[in-house]
C-alpha cells in the first residue's frame, strides 16, 4: 500500500513536469501575450519595458528553467493581467468551486443511485420507465438553458431562491463556505442542481445497466435462496458489485466539474475559478494557465489515486500491489 502510494507520487512529479512543459510550449504556440495585454497605442519603449518585466525577452527554454527554479520554491509566478501571484488568484476562488462541485456530486449520487437501482429492479414498471425518460432529459438539455429556466421559475416567478452569488459565507478552518448558513444553502441549491443534472442522469443509467446485469448472477439467486432480505441483497451485494464503473465515471465527472464548470458559474454568477481559466486563456496569461493546470492535474491524480484504492476495497480481486512498475 505504502509502496503503491510512493510510486504514484513519483509518477505524479513526472506528470507535473510534462504538464508544465506542454502548457509552456502550447501557450507559446498560440500567440504572444504582449499583443493581447498591451494596448496597441503603447510605444516601443513601453512595450520593451513590459516585455522585460514579464521576462518574455529571454528565450523560451530559459523562461521555462526560471519557472522551474521558482516553482521548486513554491512560487508559480505572477499573473500578467492582475500582477498578483497566480496561486493567490486561484486559491481565492477555489473554495467556492470546490463547494459547488462537491454539492453537485453529492446530489448526483444521492439522487442517481437510488433512482438507478429502482429503474434497474423494475425495468418494465411505470416508475422505471418514467425514471429513464426523465434521465434522457438530463442528458440532452443544455446546461445553460436549464440554469436560465431554473432562475426564471424558482427565483423570478416563485421567488423561493436567490438568483445568483454565493450568499452569506462563514469561515470553516479559515476557508469561507456557504453551506453552514441557511442563506448560503439557498444560494448553493440551484447551481448545484444545475451542475448535477447531467451527472444524475449518467449515474442513473450506469446503475440501471449494472443492476440489470448483476441481478441475473448466481450470487443473487444464492442470496435469495439463503433468505436474505431484499434490501440487503440490493443494498449490499448487488451495489458492491456494480459500483466500480459508477465510481470511475463519477470521479471523472467530479474532476471535470471542478476544473471546467464555467457555464454554471457564469449563469449563476458563482465566484468560482472556472471563469478564471477561460479569461486567462483569452489573454494568454501564462503564469495563471500553468498554475491552474498544474493544480487541476494534481486534483485529477489525487482523485484517481483514491479511485484506484476504492477499486481494491470494493473488489478484492483487484489488488494494488499488482499494478507495480
Amino acid at each position: 500500500m505504502l509502496a503503491f502510494i510512493i510510486r504514484r507520487v513519483l509518477q505524479s512529479l513526472v506528470v507535473l513536469l510534462v504538464m508544465s512543459l506542454l502548457v509552456f510550449i502550447g501557450v507559446y504556440a498560440i500567440g504572444n501575450p504582449i499583443d493581447v495585454l498591451i494596448s496597441p497605442d503603447a510605444d516601443q519603449i513601453e512595450r520593451a519595458k513590459v516585455i522585460v518585466a514579464f521576462g518574455l525577452d529571454k528565450p523560451l527554454w530559459l523562461q521555462y528553467f526560471i519557472f522551474l527554479k521558482n516553482a521548486a520554491g513554491g512560487d508559480l509566478g505572477r499573473s500578467f493581467a492582475y500582477s498578483t501571484p497566480a496561486l493567490t488568484l486561484i486559491f481565492e476562488r477555489m473554495p467556492a468551486t470546490l463547494e459547488l462541485s462537491s454539492a453537485a456530486i453529492l446530489l448526483s449520487i444521492v439522487l442517481g443511485l437510488p433512482l438507478g437501482l429502482l429503474a434497474g429492479l423494475r425495468p418494465n414498471g411505470v416508475v422505471g420507465k418514467a425514471i429513464m425518460a426523465v434521465s434522457i432529459l438530463g442528458f440532452s438539455l443544455p446546461t445553460f438553458w436549464v440554469g436560465l429556466m431554473l432562475i426564471m421559475v424558482f427565483a423570478v416567478q416563485l421567488g423561493w431562491l436567490p438568483t445568483s452569488g454565493r450568499g452569506e459565507t462563514q469561515l470553516l478552518f479559515g476557508v469561507p463556505v456557504s453551506f453552514l448558513s441557511w442563506d448560503g444553502l439557498r444560494h448553493l441549491l440551484m447551481p448545484a442542481f444545475n451542475l448535477a443534472l447531467f451527472n444524475i442522469a449518467l449515474v442513473i443509467r450506469l446503475t440501471r445497466s449494472g443492476a440489470q446485469e448483476a441481478l441475473m448472477q448466481d450470487y443473487v439467486k444464492f442470496a435469495r435462496a439463503k433468505g436474505l432480505r431484499n434490501s440487503r441483497i440490493i443494498g449490499v451485494h448487488v451495489l458492491k458489485n456494480i459500483l466500480i464503473p459508477i465510481v470511475t465515471v463519477v470521479a471523472l465527472q467530479f474532476g471535470s466539474i471542478i476544473a471546467f464548470s464555467i457555464v454554471t458559474e457564469t449563469v449563476f454568477a458563482w465566484p468560482g475559478m472556472g471563469k478564471l481559466i477561460i479569461d486567462s486563456i483569452r489573454v494568454l496569461d501564462r503564469p495563471v494557465i500553468v498554475a491552474y493546470l498544474l493544480l487541476i492535474v494534481t486534483i485529477f491524480i489525487l482523485i484517481n489515486l483514491v479511485v484506484d484504492m476504492l477499486y481494491s476495497a470494493l473488489d478484492p480481486r483487484v489488488r494494488l500491489a499488482e499494478s507495480k512498475g
Binding site: S209, L293, V297
Partner: protein, 223 residues
C-alpha cells in the same frame, strides 16, 4: 423410416439484438428519429428551401424575419425565420446537421476505439504500461478543451478535421479510464484464467474475451 435429427436453428447474437431492439417501442421510435435526422443531413441540398452558402441567393432585405414570413420578392416562405444575413434558418439547420452529425460520429468512433484499446491494454497488461497510459490520461483530462482547440488551431490551422482531432483528444481519456476499471475486475475472473491456460494470444484474450464484458458501462458513457 429413418430418423433425422432436427436442430433448432440457434439465434445469432445479432438476430437476438435486432429482435430485442425492435421489441421496444421507445428504441424503435428513437431509431426512426435517428434515421430521419441522418437522411435530412444527407439530402440537405435537395430538401432545404435555400442554399445558405450561395451568397447570390441571399437578400439582406430578408434579414431577421420572424418564422413563417415571406421573402421580399415573395418567392419563398421562411418557416423558421431568417438570421441577420437573411439566411433561411431551416436551411441553415439542415446544412448544419451534416457537419454536426459527421463530427459527432467520426470523433466518437475514433475516440472510442483509441480509448478502448488503451484502456484494455492498461487493465490487462498492468505494470509500467498501465502507469504510463493512465498518467497520460490524467494530463489529458486536465487540459481544458478550449486550450487544446486553440493550440491545434495555432499549429495546424482551421478545418473540420482539427475539430475532430480536438474532440478525440478530449474524449479518449474518459473511455480509457472507464474501460480499464471494468478490465481490472474482469481480468481476475475464471474465464480469462481459462483463456490464458488455453494458450490464447493476449490480443485474442483482450479483444474477444475481455472486451465484450467491459462494454456495458462504456456504452452508457459513449451514449
Amino acid at each position: 423410416m429413418e430418423l433425422t435429427p432436427t436442430f433448432e436453428v440457434a439465434e445469432t447474437p445479432w438476430q437476438r439484438f435486432v429482435r430485442n431492439f425492435f421489441g421496444s417501442k421507445i428504441a424503435t421510435a428513437g431509431f426512426v428519429l435517428l434515421v430521419l435526422i441522418v437522411l435530412a443531413a444527407i439530402f440537405a441540398p435537395v430538401i432545404s428551401p435555400q442554399n445558405p452558402y450561395d451568397l447570390a441567393k441571399l437578400d439582406v432585405m430578408d434579414s431577421r424575419l420572424e418564422p413563417g414570413q415571406k421573402s421580399v420578392d415573395a418567392s419563398m416562405t421562411y418557416l423558421l425565420g431568417t438570421d441577420d444575413q437573411g439566411r433561411d434558418m431551416l436551411s441553415a439547420i439542415l446544412y448544419g446537421i451534416r457537419i454536426s452529425v459527421m463530427v459527432g460520429v467520426v470523433s466518437t468512433i475514433i475516440a472510442l476505439s483509441l480509448g478502448l484499446t488503451l484502456g484494455l491494454l492498461a487493465g490487462y497488461a498492468g505494470g509500467r504500461i498501465e502507469a504510463l497510459i493512465m498518467r497520460v490520461a490524467d494530463i489529458q483530462l486536465s487540459f481544458p478543451p478550449i486550450l487544446i482547440a486553440l493550440i491545434l488551431l495555432a499549429l495546424t490551422g482551421r478545418g473540420i478535421d482539427k475539430i475532430i482531432i480536438a474532440l478525440v483528444a478530449v474524449q479518449w481519456a474518459y473511455y480509457a479510464r472507464t474501460t480499464r476499471s471494468a478490465a481490472l475486475v474482469e481480468r481476475k475472473k475464471e474465464y480469462i484464467e481459462a483463456a490464458t491456460a488455453l494458450g490464447l494470444s493476449p490480443l485474442r484474450i483482450m479483444f474477444r474475451h475481455l472486451l465484450p464484458n467491459c462494454l456495458p458501462p462504456l456504452i452508457v458513457v459513449a451514449g
